[in-house]
Every structure is written in C-alpha cells, then in structure tokens.
Symmetry: none
Subunit: 283 residues, 5 copies
Amino acid sequence: MRKDVRKGDMVGAGKTYRLGRIFGRDGRTMVLPVDHGLMLGRISGLEDPVAMTRSAIEAGCDGLLMSAGLVRATAEFFAERTSPARLLTVDTLFWDDQDAATAASSVVASIRTAARLGVDAVKLLMAWDFPAVQRTATAARIARVVEEADRWEIPVMVEPVTLRETSRERAAELTVDAARIATELGADILKVAYPGKPELLAALVAESRLPVVILGGPRVSTIADLVEVVDEALGAGASGIVIGRQVWQRPPAERAAVMRALVELVHGRVSAAAALEGLASVA
Amino acid sequence: MRKDVRKGDMVGAGKTYRLGRIFGRDGRTMVLPVDHGLMLGRISGLEDPVAMTRSAIEAGCDGLLMSAGLVRATAEFFAERTSPARLLTVDTLFWDDQDAATAASSVVASIRTAARLGVDAVKLLMAWDFPAVQRTATAARIARVVEEADRWEIPVMVEPVTLRETSRERAAELTVDAARIATELGADILKVAYPGKPELLAALVAESRLPVVILGGPRVSTIADLVEVVDEALGAGASGIVIGRQVWQRPPAERAAVMRALVELVHGRVSAAAALEGLASVA
Amino acid sequence: MRKDVRKGDMVGAGKTYRLGRIFGRDGRTMVLPVDHGLMLGRISGLEDPVAMTRSAIEAGCDGLLMSAGLVRATAEFFAERTSPARLLTVDTLFWDDQDAATAASSVVASIRTAARLGVDAVKLLMAWDFPAVQRTATAARIARVVEEADRWEIPVMVEPVTLRETSRERAAELTVDAARIATELGADILKVAYPGKPELLAALVAESRLPVVILGGPRVSTIADLVEVVDEALGAGASGIVIGRQVWQRPPAERAAVMRALVELVHGRVSAAAALEGLASVA
Amino acid sequence: MRKDVRKGDMVGAGKTYRLGRIFGRDGRTMVLPVDHGLMLGRISGLEDPVAMTRSAIEAGCDGLLMSAGLVRATAEFFAERTSPARLLTVDTLFWDDQDAATAASSVVASIRTAARLGVDAVKLLMAWDFPAVQRTATAARIARVVEEADRWEIPVMVEPVTLRETSRERAAELTVDAARIATELGADILKVAYPGKPELLAALVAESRLPVVILGGPRVSTIADLVEVVDEALGAGASGIVIGRQVWQRPPAERAAVMRALVELVHGRVSAAAALEGLASVA
Amino acid sequence: MRKDVRKGDMVGAGKTYRLGRIFGRDGRTMVLPVDHGLMLGRISGLEDPVAMTRSAIEAGCDGLLMSAGLVRATAEFFAERTSPARLLTVDTLFWDDQDAATAASSVVASIRTAARLGVDAVKLLMAWDFPAVQRTATAARIARVVEEADRWEIPVMVEPVTLRETSRERAAELTVDAARIATELGADILKVAYPGKPELLAALVAESRLPVVILGGPRVSTIADLVEVVDEALGAGASGIVIGRQVWQRPPAERAAVMRALVELVHGRVSAAAALEGLASVA
C-alpha cells in the first residue's frame, strides 16, 4: 500500500510510475544526496561524487539526489532494472559572505534534460529567510518548473529551508510557511529539516497531503542523534530521508554501515535501538 | 436574470459559460477565498485548506478562490456537476517588514494551467499604494494575463487594493482609481474592499459596467459588522462577496453557520436582520 | 463511489474533474446526442438542435453531445452550475451513395476549441468496416487527438462502429476489435452499439477497464425494445447511454417523457418494468 | 558484462540508462510483446492485456512491449524499482484481405508521449514485402522517429518483417536487407524473425553491431520447436527474444511456466534440454 | 482629397484602409481621447467613459482614442459601418510625486489584441523630458510595436510629449526632437502639443511627411483660446486634433456643442469666428 504517498492519487501514468520508483510499496524512501558540489564546490567528504554514488548503490539506498553532470557521469551504474531512483537537482544558489542581499538563484537544468536523462524527479531549493525580491523570484521559478514538469509528468521535490536564521523556532516557522507555499504552488514532494517537534511535522504531513522527506543539514551530530531524529520524524509521518553530510562526512569506514542502517530504519525493518546497536562496532 | 453581470453581453461562448458558473441567475455569488497560503504561508484558521474547501462545498458556497496546488489536491471534491465554481489565483506578492520598496510580485500559474485544470476564472492582485515601478509592472502583468485569458475565454478577476495606506479615505480613492485602470485593462470582474460609502461603490458599479465583488480583509469584526457591510454593499450594487478571514478565522463552531448565512444573504433569501438573528446562537 | 469509471484512476486533476461532470457518483450517465447535423445535415427529428438541447436540459439529461457551432449557440443554457455536461464532437465523415471507397473523415474542431469553450470531453468516430487506408487514417487521427487532449486533460470518447456491415455478428466482432484498438490508442470512454449478447459487453467492460456507453443507432424500435436493450446493457456493465435518434425521432409528445424515463433507468432509480409502465400513457 | 549490446558504446547517458534497463548485465533480454491489440484487435489469447501484463511481471520477464493505452492502464504495476522495462509500440498497420496494395501504416504515439510515460524504448514495424511507395513511407517514418528519439535519448527498436512472402528463403533475404536499411537509418535494436540459418543471424549481428532480438510470429509450434529456435538464435548471437503469440496462445496453464523457462534459457541459466525437461509436466 | 495624409502613399492595402477610416477625404480628423483612465484612474469629467463614448459618437467625432477594456465594453456602439474610427492606447506610465526618476512605462495591449478587436490604429506615449535610460526604453518599446504593427498593417500613432518641462520653448524643442525620432522609428501619425509657433509645426509637417494631430493637454483654457489654437494649428498644416480634457472637463451642458463645433472647424466647414459665435450660447 502506498496510498499515503499522494493522498488524492490524481496523477497521471507518468507520475505514478516515477513516484513508485522513488517510494517503496511501504511509502518510504532513503535517498542519499550527492548534489552538494553544484552549490558548495569540492565539499569535504564528497570529493569524489562518482565513487560515493557507487557506494550508495552497493549499500542499497533507494535513490540518489544528483546534478546533471553527475547523472551523465554515472549513467552506466544505473543502467540496470534494480538500480536506485535518481532525482535531479535543477537549480543552484550562490551568495557572498553569507550576505542574503547578495544571494542569487537560477535554474541550471531543464525538465527536458531531466526527461532525456530518464531521471525520476527534479528538486528545487526554496531558501526562505531571504529578501522578498528573492522569495518572489523563487516562487516564480518553482511555479515555472512545476508547470513544465507537469507537462512531462515528472514529480517535483521542493526543499523549503532557512540558511541564515539562528533561532530554531523561527527557522521552523519559516520552513512550515514556505512548505505551505510550495504545496500551493503544486510541489509533489516536500524536503524539510526536521522541525524539532513531532506534532509540527505531523501537521505538515496531514495538511499538505504530500510525502515529506527529512534533510540532514550541515551540523555533524553523533550517530545516536541522527538515528533518534530519523526515528522521531518517521514516527511523526515522514516518508523518508534525504540526508547526505551526516552520512558521508563521517569517517570512510563508517559510511556504508550508516547508509545500510538508515535504509533498514526507514523501511521499518529494524528499530532505532537495534540500528544503533548494529552501528556500535563501526561508529 | 443575470443581465447586470456583464452589461454588454459581448463575451464569447466560453466566457458566458464560465461567468454563469460563478454568478447565479440572480447575478450574485458568494465565493470563499482559501488561497491565502500562497502569500501568507500557514495562516491561522486556514491551516488545512483541503478540509476548509470541503466545508465550503458542504455549506453551499458558490465558488472557491484557490491556488493551483489546492485545485489539484481537491479535484475529486469538484468532480460533480453541482459543485461550486473554482477561481484560480495566479500571482503572489512578498515584501519585507511591510516595506513597500521591497515588494515583488510574479505570476505563478499560467492560463494554460487554468484551462487544463478546468477552473472558471483566474484572479490577480493589484496592490496600488506601491511605488510607480511596481504599479507599472503590475499593470503590465494584468494586461498580459487578460490577453492570454481572452484567447482561452477565461474570465479575469482583478483585485485592486491598498496594503499600507492608513487613511481610509485615501485608500478608497486609490482603490477606485486602480479599479478604473483594471477596467481599462480589460478585467472581467472587480474584487474590492467596500469603500465605506454606498454611493462610491454604486458609482464604481455603474461606471465600470462590471460585476464587483467585496473582499473581507484582515480585520476581524463582529458578525454584526460583517453582515452590515455585506448588506450595505449588496444594496449599493455589489454582485457578491469574496470574504475569507472574516469567516474562517472565527471559532470552528461558527464557520459553517456564517458561510450558510452569507450565502442566504448574498442571494437575497434572508434579510440582514434575519441572518443575524439566525447566527445569534452560534456567534 | 465512482471507482469503476476509470479503473486505474491514474488521471490528473483536470480529467478527474471532467469525468466527474459526465458520470455521476454512481458511475452512470445519460447523454443525449444532438450532433447529428454535422454528418447528416437537417436530419428528421433534430431540425432544431437548439430547441432540442433546451428540452434535454429540462428533462434532466446528464450530458449533451454537440458540435462546436451548437455549443456556441447554446452557451447561455449551460451558464449555470447545475447544467448538464457537454461533449464536443470533433470530427465528421462523408461518403457517396454508401460506397465505402469514397468515405473521407477529418477533424473539424481542435482541442484548443474544446478548452476554450469549456466542454467536458471530445468525441471521435471510429468507423471500422472501411478500407485499410481509412482505418489507418482514423487510428492516426484518434491518436493525435488523444495526445493533444492528454496535454489539456480533456477526456476522449471514441465510438467504434460499423456503418455498412449487414451481419449483426460480424458487426459486433468488428466493433469489439475496434474498441480494443481504441483502448490501446488511449481512449478514456468507449461508445459502442450494444453487441447483442451481455457476455460480449461484459468482456469489453472488463478487458478495457474503461467506462462503456451504449449508442442507439438509426433503427427505430419500440419503447419496449429500447428499454430492454438499455436495461440489459446496464446489467452487463455499461456506464450509461448516448442515444439520440431513438429518442428524438419519436413523436414530439413522447420525447421528454422518454428522456426522463431513461435518466431514471440509467441511474437505477426505476426498474425497466416500472419505466415502461410509466411510459405507457405517452407511447 | 553487457559490452556486446552496443559495441561502440557511443551513446549518451539517457540511452545507456534505458538500454541497460532492457538488456541485463549479460546483454540478454526476454521481452513479452502484448501490443498486438493495436493492429489485430481482440486477438485470441490476449483478450485481457492488463491481466497478461501482470502475469508477465510475476513470471520475471525482462520487458513488455505495449501500446500507449496499455502503458497508461498498467502504470501502477510498474511503479516499482524492480519492475520490467517497457517498450512502446508507436505505429500501426492495417490492410484488407492480406492485399499488400491496400496496406497503410501510421505513427500513433509520439516520442513526447514515450518520454512522458517514462518508457525505455519505442518500437516500429518495417514491413518489407510491400510496394515501393509503402517501403519508402516506412523508411521515412522510421527516420523521423529515430531523429526525434535521438533528441530524447530514447532507443528505437525496428522490426523488419515480411508479412506475405511464402518462400522462407526469400523472406529471410528481405528481412536481412530491411535490417540493413534499418541499421543505416539509425535503429538501436533490431527485432527479426529467426532467419533459419545461424550463420545468417550471426552475420546480421556482426555487421549491424546492434543487439538483435528474435520475434515469434503467428505460427503455433511445439514447445520443443520454440525452445530449439531460441537456443539456436542465442547461440548465433541473438541478444534475446520478443515472443508473444507462441507464449500466450498456449493453454493458460502452460503460459507462466513457458515464460519462466524462456527467461532462464535466454539468460543462460539452463540448457535447452533442461528447459524442455522442466516444461514436460505442463506442456 | 486625402493625398496629403501620407505623402509617399507607400503603405499596403491594410494601412490604406485603416488610415482612410481615421482621416476623412479632406485628410482631417477630429478624435476624442477617452483613454485617460488607463494612466490617471477615475479622472474628473471622464468618470464614465462608456457614456462619454456614446456622446462622442452622437456628436459626430471622427474617432475615439480608447483603452482595450473600453473598446470591449463599447463594441456594440461601433458595430455599424458609419461609426467613428477607434484608436487603441497600448501603453501606460506611472510615476511617484511627479518624480521623473521613478517613472516606469509598459505596453499593456498587444497588436494581436488590436487586430482581434478590429481597431484602426494603436497609440503610444513618448515622454521625452525623462532620464536617458527611460528614453531609450521608450524608443525600443515604440520600435517593437511599430515592427509588429507593420506586420499586421495597423497604423501607429506616437505622442511625443514633455510632462515636467516648465519652459514652453524648451518643451517645444524637446517635442520636435522626439517627433523626429518617432518619425525615424517608423511612426505613421504624430500626436503633439501645438508648439506655439505655426512655422515650427509647419516644419514638422513638411519634414516628417506624416499626418500630425494636435493634443489638448491638462490646462483648462477658454473656448476662445481653444478654438484659436486649433485654427492656427490647422492653418499650419495639422491634420486634425485629439483633444479630450479641454472638451469633457467643461460643464456637461457645453460638451456636445464643443465637440460638434470642433468637428466643423477641423473639416473647414465653419470659420473659427463662426464656430465661436455658435458656441456663445452654451459657453
């Protein structure tokens, strides 16, 4: 049963097929994001995204979030019926010295490229603690991609985030507002930071009627913290995770085991306690 | 008789059909707007727009004003011949700290999307107490949508408003000027705040020769105030109302009754006094 | 429950909305076709299609099958939320002296016209007892319309028929083959002559997984015959009827009563016996 | 190792991905064609293509060859990462009384539809024992589809066949000529009848440098004949089979076992002798 | 004789037809502009532009300058062979507190709209006492409209003006420069303020070889002043007038008489003295 992935189920054959490649029959997915280079350059832990992609496939991840360049470079890895889904990041954002006024975003891959490459979804950032002119441009950008993607029946994942806000409470509020706007714009999947409180996530899941996946973010936490957050988010209704840095910024020896443990946890095949115990030897 | 809705009757078959789905044979309509999330995020009282849409249908509203995402999510509710009309909000506006200089607007849904979804009209905001560069961009945006909508025979509702002006008199003046510009640009329906004086509304109705519907705005008034304003506006020639926050920001227990009372009042099936009396038990 | 209308339910919000306007919550529809003039000119009984359309609305028909010209001429009748659905016939066929070799078909209304007029579906003929070159052109024509209609989320009704075949058995066989080809081409609704045997219709319904509606054809039968065929077809799984000549080629005094009786019968609100009894006084 | 599927490997990321979904790592594929309804109507054994598609998935087939209507109707079955590949038949052909002079072909699904639905390849017929005017139209039709498909990186399977030729030798010659023309036109995969002699197939494989798959055709042979032909073709270099009628025109009880046996045989996991032995109990 | 309207006569059939609908056989025209609402909102004297349009038709004006919304609202008035010409204003301009730096202009109606509505010309403003960046944008805007209008053979009227300049001499100079630039850009008709000196206007007429019409502007003058200016302008070669506020900002009782007098004067059927005498009783 996957009826919770898209409550209304009013999507055509193309979206049905693609959403089903991302989310399992249990409605859950564990996606490893390896698209960070597009915004952050040669980020630590992801110096070699092609190699990391291969590891993720071997570890049984359900999907990879990638740039167009990486999709091209790794096409052969995915040229197989049992391979993970691929989600294409289609925008980027740069700013100077973390100064919001300087931030600028743009689409860098078209829906046609997505269709040509055969990916299963596209992903857009929705940075919401930014000036109004940028928020408006972002809403318009998402709307244009949603409209074009709809024509090709390619699902759109939108990622409402705050990048500067230091108050956790205010960040959660902004995220929830942005997630609501993304829903009204026609997003198919929401990717958000865990808002801290299960009831806030549960409300987002219930009110948006969309699959919500949890991102990891830059803060390196302990394995125990990570497992706890994921477990809590799943309990509150999350449809899965899209966590990268918390995985591949760990020591190389731990990565594969952490990926495998998260896959098991997401699909409810192990409890959080058992997952942690299993990781005790590596982390 | 609906001859007052579009005095000239010089519209094609598609607009005739769609306008007739919005306005009853008495030329009146009671539309519940639930599109606020597009601009305001998770606004209080409208946390779950899907559920609110269902309530509005049950209460007998004539139409719903919605975002594209919400239209998609609720299509099944409207998949019936007796369902209310749907009006699609196609733009959004954001600003920082209520500072006009920072405001930015954009179209976020195309006329093609409107035609594909099968909605009966599109709606655009026309914020008029803003700098000239924004007013010009807004006029141009409305003109482009009007032109494209004309090709598809989809009616365009324009909403001339002031968002900052504190003087009621100056706000009414600006609204009337903007409404006139919207008329010249080719709007099919005007949505305005009740300008306070019946003769001003009567002049707008007479001079524009368009159906004029009254918005509610953010101020929470008493039920008595609300009913009085609606009654006065209808008396002055308004073709109906598009009032949201004044309805769904009331206690949940009151909402349905208020909706039903407004439907009756708008269609002249009860007097204002009787409507108020009927609401005495709930509000 | 309307789950039998589109078994897979894998249609978008636009098709969901439009199919729901054609078929009731019981999955059934009674459509009066008044599009015959497009192919047959001033056909007896339908000399005034505008007047007949008005009668059909008054009699409570669920939908009308019409040409673009008639849709334009009657737009005002449908400019109301409770009005019947409208299905637009988008092709025509002419031939000389019933000589198949001379037959020629063409699309005469585009999907854009359908979208502009706001109709709920389009309809194409699929005459199958014709030379291969014509069958191929017909398949290609249907395929093109299906593809364009899909982009606008407008359902396509295809009508597989034989126009020359005199053997009832062979006609039924050809119809079933053509219906299968229409299904493979992506039709949303099938309109066929009742194939005579309930089990053949039941197989078509089961195998196509599409709503199948029954046409009437030119032969004038008795009211009893008509009611029997409709009842048998509904029993075998038909989703409704699209019967014109059998209705409006009767004496004017009978027409409205026959329409009303068929509406009741189709929606299962009266038995065939009761319907006949009710018609005893008029026919 | 799949290096023999596409010798030069000079294809883009999209084709690499899609070809890899059709052919296994061993370069082999067992595709069940269920697209016959598009040309032949309600053909015996394939009355219910949706049910047959489900059986094929359960039996472990590598791919299905389907019409656009069937792809839409079965999207939910394939909405899973381990599901078989889907190849879309994009043309049809009709003729009267097997008279070549009356034959007419047309494209009935576009590459855009293929991209939207997310299929892995498209398939075109290339009937070559037909008049020159038809062969030229067919070559032009294939060329147009190849050009458009290339833009979307969707592989094109071309099926050179004879439909009337009674001499086996002449049929094989015509097929080999047509296969060569298809190769020159830019086909990615060839689908041909086994030409009888291993050396002729081996030459086609060697010279075209394309994956060649073997079709079954209408003649019902014994299981032993079928297994022998498949085994011989694989031995001569075939990359797999696309055999339908020989499978699903058998008694229902045998079908699943025959599918499973052919999958095993194609992938070299059983010998022909063992496959036959395993089938002894069902056929 | 209208040979002076377009000296070269090198215009296509479409423009010949349309220019002939604006200018009489005597090469003269009296156009009443009622498009002010597009820029100025509910301007005094023109509160009801529909009613004013009807008055202008009754008074025998040769043409009306209107917005697209007004053209739509009054189409029925013009649905007759002897009705006045219609010129469509296709741009608007807003600024804050008369501060040139804040001014922004945009096209608000396309040439397609002009063609669809069947108007006889389009009109653009060319405000020339504005910063260079705005002058450049204006020149580019005019050029784009001219190019598109040429394709549809719709004449373009350009209105070079100063909106801030207080020196009459400098204003006249700027106007003449702008008029020359408009001529070079391909304008078909020039609309300018009377530059004060007959010889300056005569030079503009002679050098541009275009019909030049005189605007009225905001200053309310006496009837005598108005008649004198018009008479002098006609004497210097003007092809007519496009004067609005000087007409409809007069007391309602005077308007019709003033219009009729100006029509007579423009077409040389009365002298200036006789025109004034005739108006003595109303003004």
